[in-house]
C-alpha cells in the first residue's frame, strides 16, 4: 500500500506528513499539484499549509489544480480514501468533496495552540477510534471556522458525518472550548471515503512534542485502509 501526499504551491506541512507516515512504516510518495494522475497511490493525504497563499479564499485555488481533477475522479470511481488536514480540509470543501465551508476564525486572529477534540461518532475510516474518545492535538490556522446552515448540520449529524468536535478538559463541547467559532464546535467531518480535520495529527506523533494522539489517529486511518484492502481482495 502506498499513500500519496500532495504538495501544492504553498503547502508547508507536506514534509511533516510524509515524516509522520514514514514513522508508521507505510510507503509514501510525493504527488505534485500539476500531476494529472495519482501514480498508483492507494490513498491520498492533502496536507496543511497555505496553498496559493490563501489568496481568494483558503483552498479555493488549489481545488482547481490538475491533481484535484484526478483525485475527484478517483473518489467517485473507486472511493479513493482521502484525508485532508487543515488546508487540506479547506481544499476539500472548496472542491465539493466535503460539505460546508471554512471561514475566518471568529476572533480574527491566527491561532496556534493545543486543543482537545472528541470523536463524535466512530467512523469505519478510523477503526479503533471509539465514539467519545478525546484526543489532544495541535491547531494552527486563521480560517478554521467551520460553517454550514442548520438543515445541512442536522443532516450531517443524522448521517454520522460529524466526526470530531472541539471539547474542554472534561470532554464537553462548551462554547469556550471552541477556538475558532465553528458551528457545533466541529473540528472534523467525514463523508464516504473522505475525511478531514482542522487539527494537525502529523504534529502529535510523540509525547515529547506535546502529544502522541496524532499517532493514534493516523494509525487508525491506516488500519481502515488495510481492512478495506483485505475486504476488496475478498
Amino acid at each position: 500500500m502506498r499513500i500519496g501526499v500532495v504538495t501544492f504551491p504553498g503547502s508547508n506541512c507536506d514534509q511533516d506528513t510524509l515524516d509522520a507516515l514514514d514513522t508508521l512504516g507505510v510507503d509514501t510518495l510525493r504527488l505534485w499539484y500539476r500531476d494529472a494522475d495519482l501514480a498508483g497511490a492507494d490513498a491520498v493525504v492533502l496536507p496543511g499549509g497555505f496553498s496559493y497563499g490563501d489568496y481568494l479564499r483558503s483552498g479555493a485555488l488549489a481545488a482547481k489544480s490538475p491533481i484535484m481533477t484526478a483525485i475527484q475522479e478517483a473518489v467517485v470511481d473507486r472511493q479513493l480514501p482521502l484525508l485532508g488536514i487543515c488546508n487540506g480540509f479547506q481544499i476539500l470543501t472548496e472542491a465539493g468533496l466535503l460539505p460546508g465551508g471554512l471561514r475566518a476564525n471568529h476572533h480574527g486572529q491566527f491561532r496556534c495552540d493545543w486543543q482537545r477534540v472528541k470523536v463524535i461518532e466512530a467512523s469505519p475510516l478510523f477503526p479503533g477510534l471509539e465514539a467519545g474518545e478525546v484526543l489532544k492535538l495541535p491547531i494552527a490556522h486563521g480560517e478554521g471556522s467551520y460553517y454550514m446552515d442548520e438543515e445541512s448540520l442536522q443532516s450531517l449529524f443524522a448521517h454520522g458525518e460529524a466526526w470530531l468536535q472541539y471539547v474542554d478538559a472534561d470532554g464537553q463541547a462548551q462554547s469556550w472550548a471552541n477556538p475558532n467559532g465553528s458551528v457545533a464546535n466541529l473540528a472534523g467531518v467525514a463523508r464516504g471515503s473522505v475525511a478531514a480535520l482542522m487539527p494537525h495529527p502529523e504534529r502529535a506523533m510523540m509525547d515529547i512534542l506535546g502529544s502522541d494522539d496524532g499517532h493514534r489517529l493516523l494509525t487508525a486511518w491506516l488500519c481502515g485502509l488495510e481492512r478495506r484492502a483485505l475486504y476488496a481482495r475478498g
Partner: protein
C-alpha cells in the same frame, strides 16, 4: 541630482568625485547614496563592530556574508542572524513586520540553509498609537512566518515610553544546511550568468534603506509610506523551495538576496565578495508595471527576489527548476573579469562603477583605542533603596508587559510546523530537534530595555550573559551569538556614546564567555523629534543540545524537593521591573566578568550530570517571576515555601533582583549532598531558598502568601489597551 537628495553629505559627495575621477551621473549617485547609507554600509557602527570577537572552534562563516554560520555536527551547519525592520514597522506595522521576517529568511536561504526557526524581539511604546502598532506587528510576523511554514519558536517583548514613535522589530532566523552544500554571495566567477528570480520589480520601497531607515523621524512621516515594501509569503515560499533545490543540486555558484537597496546592493555585494565585475542589461529585468527607469529598477526594494550566479552548463537545469515551481527566472547579466559593474539599458551605458567603491569604499567612522577603552568606565550610578517586601508589588511585577506571559502574542504564531519544536515559546529557551542529526539546537533570545537605559555597558553585558545562561541551563554548548543593535542618531555625540558603551558591554561579555558573535544588524536613527530611544540590543544565542528529546525540565519537581539559587547575586534590585515600578529608572548592576566562562561550563556540566531535576535562568522580574513561570508548568497542587536569607529591604532586593548568571534549581533531597559538593568544588555559591510544598502558590515564612490562582491571573493578564 544633488548628494543630499540621496542622503549623502557634501564631504561624501566630494570623496565620490575623487574616487571616480569625475562627477557621478544620477544613477551612479543613487548607487552611492544607497550603498553608503547607514543602513547598508554601517558607516557609523562598523568601527565598533570590528571590536567584537568573531572566531571560534564552531564558526564556519563570520560576519560579512548574508548570515553567520556555525557547525552543528560533521554533516550539518547552522546559519543564523538577526535583522531589524524598525522604521518600516512604524510607518506600516503589518507589512513592515512581515517583510522583516521575509528579509531575514532570504538571508538564511542565501547561505543555502533551510530555515527552521524564527524568533521575534519586539519593543513598543505605551501610547495609543503604540498599541495599534503592536497589534499590527504581531499580525505581520504571523502573516509571513505562518504562511511560509517556519515556526516562530521563541521571542522577547519589552514596553516603555521610550519606544513611543520608535517601535523595534528585530527578527532572528535559523537555518540548517549540509556542509557539502555550502553557498554564499562570494562564489560567482567571470562568465557566469546572473539570474534574477522571484517577484517582478515594481516601484515599491525605493530608497527604503537610504531615506527611511537612515534618518530620524520628524513627525508627518506619511509621505514615507511608499518607501515601505510589501511582502508575499506565498511567493516567498515557492522562491525558497526553488532556490534551495537549485543550491542542493549544486547548480548555483553564488546566491544573494535582494533586501535593502534592492539590485544595487545585491549586485555590489555579490561582485565585491566574488571579486568579479558584471555587465547588467536592465531592460531584461521583469517589471510589474511598464516604464520604470534604470534608476528605479536599481533602487526598488520589491520583496521576494534573489540573485543567483549560474554557470553556462548549469543554466538550463536551474531554469527548469524555477519553471517547475512557476517562479520567474531571468538572466539579467553576466559576471566579468573587469572589476567594473556596468549597467546597460537598451545598449546604453547608464552606470559604470567599481563594486568595491560601493562596498568597502564606503566611509567608516573609526574608533580610537582610547575611546574604546574608556567605554567600560563606570557611569554615575542611580540607585534607589528598596522597601520591605509588600504583597501587591509582586502582582504588579507579574502583570508588567516585560514580565507577563507572552501567550496572547505567540498563540498568533505557528510554533510547531516542521515538527521540531520540543520546547516552544512557553519556555525560557527554544529546544529544537533537527532532521538528520542526533544533536538538537537551543535558541535563546533576550533584549535590553530598562537594563541599558542608564548604564548601557551593564545592560549590553547583562543581556549577553542572560542568553548564554539559558543555553547553559539546557546543558547546551554555545556555538555563537548574533546581535541586533538599535540606537539613536549616531551624529549626536551623546547618542553615539551610549550606543558605543552598549557595544562595549556586549563585546566584553562575549569575550568573557569565549563565545563568538557571528553576525548581526545595526539600526540607527531610532529618534523622533530629537528624542532617542534607550540604546537597545537584542541578543540571540545558539547552542548545540546533545539530547534534544530530553530537555532539562523547568517545573517545580515534586513535594519535598529543595529549591536553590545557583550563583546568587548580592541583593541589588536596581534596573529591575520591581525597582522601576516603585522608584523609577535605576542602574542595572554590573557583573563580575572574571569567571564567566568557567561558571557557564560548570552549569552546563551540572545539568548534564543529572543532579538537578529542573533548572531555570533568572530573568525579567527576578527570582519572584522565575518561580511563577516554573509554577505555571508544574503540577497545580504544588507551591513554594521560601526562606530568603535576608531581612527587610535586602529580602526585597533578592526577590526581584534581575542580575545575570543566576539560576533557580530544583534538587531532590537525595541529591542535595551531591549538589552541595559539586558547587563547593566549583567554587560557586549555591543558596538554599526554600522547599517545594503541597500548598499551592508562594509562601514566605508565614508573612506573605500568594495563591497560585492570584499569581497566574496577574502573570497571564491580558493587555486590554492592546485589545487582547
Amino acid at each position: 541630482m544633488r548628494g543630499d537628495e540621496v542622503g549623502l553629505n557634501p564631504n561624501e559627495y566630494e570623496s565620490i568625485c575623487g574616487i571616480m575621477g569625475r562627477s557621478p551621473n544620477d544613477l551612479e549617485l543613487g548607487l552611492f547614496g544607497a550603498l553608503w547609507s547607514e543602513h547598508c554600509s554601517y558607516k557609523s557602527s562598523k568601527g565598533l563592530l570590528a571590536r567584537f570577537g568573531h572566531s571560534g572552534p564552531h564558526v564556519v562563516q563570520g560576519p560579512g556574508e548574508n548570515a553567520g554560520v556555525v557547525r552543528l555536527d560533521e554533516n550539518l551547519e547552522v546559519a543564523f542572524k538577526v535583522e531589524s525592520h524598525n522604521h518600516p514597522s512604524y510607518v506600516e506595522p503589518v507589512q513592515g513586520a512581515a517583510t522583516g521576517v521575509g528579509g531575514i529568511l532570504r538571508d538564511i536561504i542565501a547561505m543555502g540553509a533551510r530555515p527552521i526557526a524564527v524568533a521575534d524581539m519586539l519593543r513598543f511604546g505605551t501610547d495609543e498609537k503604540s498599541h495599534a502598532i503592536m497589534r499590527g506587528v504581531v499580525k505581520g510576523v504571523g502573516l509571513y512566518g505562518n504562511a511560509i511554514g517556519i515556526p516562530t519558536v521563541t521571542g522577547d517583548l519589552g514596553v516603555s515610553e521610550t519606544y513611543d514613535g520608535n517601535p523595534l522589530v528585530n527578527v532572528l532566523a535559523v537555518g540548517v544546511r549540509r556542509s557539502d552544500a555550502r553557498v554564499g554571495a562570494g562564489g560567482a566567477c567571470p562568465g557566469q550568468w546572473l539570474l534574477l528570480v522571484g517577484q517582478r520589480t515594481g516601484r515599491d520601497g525605493i530608497h527604503g534603506a537610504s531615506l527611511l531607515a537612515s534618518r530620524d523621524f520628524s513627525g508627518g512621516d506619511e509621505d514615507l509610506r511608499p518607501t515601505v515594501q510589501v511582502g508575499d509569503p506565498f511567493l516567498g515560499k515557492i522562491l525558497m523551495e526553488a532556490t534551495l533545490e537549485t543550491v542542493s543540486r549544486g547548480l548555483a555558484a553564488a546566491v544573494q538576496d535582494l533586501g535593502a537597496a534592492g539590485l544595487a546592493s545585491a549586485l555590489a555585494e555579490l561582485c565585491h565578495l566574488s571579486k568579479i565585475g558584471a555587465e547588467i542589461w536592465l531592460e531584461r529585468v521583469p517589471l510589474r508595471q511598464p516604464g520604470l527607469s534604470p534608476y528605479e529598477i536599481m533602487m526598488s526594494e520589491t520583496q521576494e527576489r534573489m540573485l543567483l550566479a549560474v554557470s553556462e552548463e548549469n543554466l538550463a537545469a536551474a531554469l527548469e527548476i524555477f519553471s517547475r515551481y512557476e517562479v520567474l527566472a531571468t538572466v539579467i547579466g553576466q559576471g566579468s573579469a573587469s572589476q567594473r559593474l556596468i549597467l546597460y539599458h537598451n545598449s546604453r551605458i547608464e552606470a559604470d562603477v567599481d563594486p568595491d567603491w560601493l562596498t568597502e569604499g564606503a566611509p567608516r567612522q573609526t574608533v580610537d583605542p582610547s575611546y574604546w577603552d574608556a567605554l567600560a568606565n563606570q557611569r554615575p550610578a542611580v540607585h534607589h533603596p528598596a522597601p520591605s517586601l509588600a504583597r501587591d508589588l509582586l502582582l504588579d511585577v507579574l502583570a508588567h508587559p516585560d514580565v507577563r506571559d507572552r501567550f496572547p502574542i505567540y498563540r498568533q504564531y505557528d510554533s510547531m510546523v516542521q515538527t521540531g519544536t520540543v520546547y516552544g515559546p512557553d519556555h525560557d529557551a527554544a529546544v529544537l530537534k533537527v532532521r538528520g542529526s542526533t544533536h538538537g539546537l537551543v535558541l535563546a533570545v533576550a533584549g535590553t530595555g530598562r537594563w541599558a537605559a542608564i548604564d548601557p555597558y551593564a545592560g549590553g553585558a547583562g543581556v549577553v550573559l542572560r542568553v548564554l545562561a539559558a543555553l547553559a541551563a539546557q546543558g547546551a554548548v554555545a556555538l555563537g551569538l548574533t546581535d541586533g543593535v538599535n540606537a539613536g542618531n549616531p551624529h549626536v555625540k551623546s547618542s553615539y556614546d551610549l550606543m558605543a558603551a552598549l557595544f562595549r558591554g556586549v563585546s566584553d561579555a562575549a569575550f568573557a564567555a569565549n563565545v563568538p558573535i557571528t553576525g548581526g544588524n545595526v539600526s540607527l536613527h531610532n529618534e523622533t523629534q530629537g528624542q532617542s530611544i534607550w540604546p537597545t540590543v537584542m541578543m540571540g544565542a545558539l547552542g548545540r543540545h546533545s539530547n534534544p528529546l530530553h530537555p532539562i525540565s523547568e517545573h517545580l519537581g515534586r513535594e519535598g524537593d529543595l529549591i536553590y539559587v545557583v550563583n546568587p547575586a548580592p541583593p541589588n534590585w536596581n534596573g529591575s521591573v520591581a525597582a522601576f515600578l516603585t522608584t523609577g529608572l535605576s542602574s542595572y548592576p554590573r557583573c563580575d566578568l572574571g569567571n564567566v566562562e568557567k561558571l557557564l561550563q560548570a552549569m552546563r556540566e551540572w545539568v548534564l550530570s543529572g543532579i538537578p531535576t529542573s533548572v531555570r535562568t533568572i530573568g525579567m522580574g527576578g527570582l519572584a517571576a522565575t518561580l511563577v513561570r516554573m509554577m505555571a508548568v508544574s503540577d497545580p497542587s504544588l507551591g513554594v515555601e521560601l526562606t530568603l536569607p535576608d531581612e527587610g529591604f535586602a529580602e526585597t532586593e533578592r526577590f526581584y533582583n534581575e542580575a545575570p548568571l543566576q539560576w533557580v534549581a530544583i534538587v531532590r533531597p537525595d541529591q542535595a549532598e551531591a549538589a552541595d559538593e559539586y558547587w563547593r568544588t566549583a567554587g560557586v555559591k549555591m543558596t538554599r531558598i526554600g522547599i517545594v510544598s503541597s500548598q499551592d502558590g508562594i509562601h514566605i515564612a508565614n508573612r506573605h502568601d500568594w495563591s497560585r490562582e492570584t499569581l497566574l491571573r496577574a502573570w497571564r493578564s491580558l493587555d486590554k489597551e492592546v485589545g487582547w
